[in-house]
């Protein structure tokens, strides 16, 4: 794996500085560091000004950078945005909007948002929403740059989601014996009819699990348009690719429907490490990404902070996993030689960001690398950056996070 990465180091110059700090070999030939494009910061409807990676389809991240991860709950107006198709309705009339439940069910349903609120038991969960490609730019620190938009940690957030259990909706409709899969579609549409819909599928057994909800509320308010108003699917512990926004159709099916967005996009090699061992990624049998991997992100300080000697620095951030719960977050200030436990903050539930903090008195002048490493309750621990398995899509990045600071 390491060898493969080094051989294909081209294009991996984005973060050479950090790579050197981590003690990695520098590549033999000097590499021209590609100039990184800086996207504009623009206010979208119901959002504060956010870094606009794309306006169509909208891809937005908080303009605060890491600092957004000093809090366990991400505000709606700073919550990241990522759509797949360019045509998103700009107006939804709740008098007309319906969630259709159809296919292999005894009673097809056509539910208004008001029906969801008044005819079902409400359910609530605090859960992390993280794009499968979140943090993928850091694969380039130790290996080849991956496909796609080079997200830093900005494609994630945590919110309190309230809605209706998916299983309650499915049980109300009555799933037929023959059903094996459930498909989900939202109101985002491609520019051309021939382009595949963003249609996602889930095995029926998973769809009937207790924790999945159809959410009509986010942090106590209506969902912002750009986060899927009026309803979206919430699959706690799972990457966000199937958290379908503006959910309009639940299709119960007897057979799996092959599609680009299930079989090609958001897939990784179907092996133990879910990574490329040799050769090309797409020579491997694929599997869709699903459960998230244990991860922690430093919210404060930011990289390249200059700190006055003698200052007390409250290093802080968030940690999460697939829903087993965070057991411990460890901090290193010496490049990973020694580790000390951070203090875990309020527990918002096993699917939520677990805030953590670590008091550090900056006694010595010089350059320091702060690293944070989380371990969950079943012993999953974050890999070091040079240990992480690589995949071409740049999915599931969860290596130990680090920031470099200067004490003066």
């Amino acid at each position: 794996m390491k060898h493969l990465n080094r051989r294909h180091f081209l294009g991996a110059g984005l973060l050479l500085g950090a790579s050197a700090l981590l003690g990695k070999e520098t590549p033999e030939k000097p590499i021209a560091v590609p100039q990184e494009y800086t996207p504009p910061i623009i206010a979208f409807p119901e959002k504060k000004p956010m870094v606009t990676i794309s306006d169509r389809p909208p891809l937005l991240k908080s303009s605060k950078g890491r600092e957004i991860f000093t809090q366990a709950i991400t505000p709606n107006d700073e919550f990241f945005v990522r759509w797949h198709l360019p045509d998103i309705p700009t107006h939804i009339d709740l008098n007309e909007f319906r969630l259709e439940v159809k296919g292999s069910v005894n009673t097809p349903l056509s539910l208004s948002v008001d029906d969801l609120k008044s005819k079902f038991e409400p359910a609530e969960v605090t859960a992390v929403l993280q794009c499968g490609g979140n943090s993928r730019k850091y694969y380039a620190v130790t290996g080849q740059a991956t496909h796609g938009v080079q997200w830093d940690h900005g494609a994630m957030g945590c919110a309190v989601w309230k809605g209706v259990k998916l299983k309650d909706i499915l049980n109300r409709a009555g799933v037929k014996e023959s059903a094996t899969w459930v498909g989900f579609n939202g109101l985002e549409k491609p520019a051309m009819d021939e382009t595949p819909d963003f249609f996602r599928e889930m095995e029926i057994a998973e769809a009937l699990e207790d924790q999945i909800i159809v959410a009509y509320s986010m942090n106590g308010e209506d969902l912002p348009y750009l986060n899927g108003f009026p309803i979206r699917l919430v699959i706690p512990g799972h990457f966000s690719d199937s958290w379908v926004k503006m959910l309009s159709e639940i299709m119960v099916m007897d057979t799996y429907r092959k599609s680009f967005f299930m079989d090609v996009a958001y897939t990784v090699p179907d092996n133990d490490c879910e990574c490329v061992v040799s050769g090309s990624d797409f020579e491997y049998k694929r599997k869709p990404i699903a459960a998230m991997k244990v991860k922690s992100v430093i919210g404060y300080p930011s990289s390249n902070s200059v700190i006055k000697k003698g200052s007390k620095v409250k290093i802080s951030g968030v940690a999460f996993d697939q829903g087993k719960g965070i057991k411990e977050v460890m901090i290193s200030l010496d490049g990973g030689k020694s580790w000390s436990a951070a203090k875990l903050g309020q527990d918002f539930g096993k699917f939520a960001f677990r805030p953590w903090s670590f008091e550090w008195e900056a006694k010595t002048k010089g350059d320091f690398t702060i690293m944070a490493r989380a371990i969950n309750r079943i012993g999953n621990i974050q890999p070091m950056p040079d240990e992480i398995g690589w995949n071409a899509g740049g999915y599931q990045y969860n290596a130990v996070d680090n920031v470099s600071v200067k004490i003066v």
Binding site: G11, Y37, P45, S54, L59, Q144, A145, F282
Partner: protein, 107 residues
């Protein structure tokens, strides 16, 4: 009847506070390099996505950009002729990429 009307008005005003008019999405003009048939790039790429998709990927190899344009045609059904595909790939490699002798991994 009056009561019913009042009630429905109340419901309407609370439910639709946020959605009584369409949202307005800002348009962003992403700066891309001109020349080398950028008009072909504009014509096809912008059908489905902004140039933000190109600018935020970092520099990529020729096999990468070729694979990406093929994905747009084969998977997303972009109606681009073979000749125009080649023009787009050349444009992307020149302005947002680099040439490599061989690149076996990940494409």
């Amino acid at each position: 009847m009056k009561k019913l009307l009042l009630l429905s008005l109340l419901i309407a005003s609370t439910l639709f506070a946020q959605v009584d008019k369409p949202i307005e999405m800002p348009y962003v003009e992403y700066p891309i390099e001109s020349g080398d048939h950028d008009e072909v790039v504009q014509q096809y790429c912008l059908i489905c996505h902004s140039f933000g998709y190109i600018l935020n990927q970092g520099k990529k190899s020729r096999p990468y950009w070729k694979g990406t344009v093929q994905k747009m045609v084969n998977e997303f059904k972009a109606p681009i002729s073979k000749e125009d595909q080649q023009m787009i790939v050349n444009y992307l490699v020149k302005h947002y990429g680099y040439e490599t002798q061989s690149n076996q991994s990940g494409h």
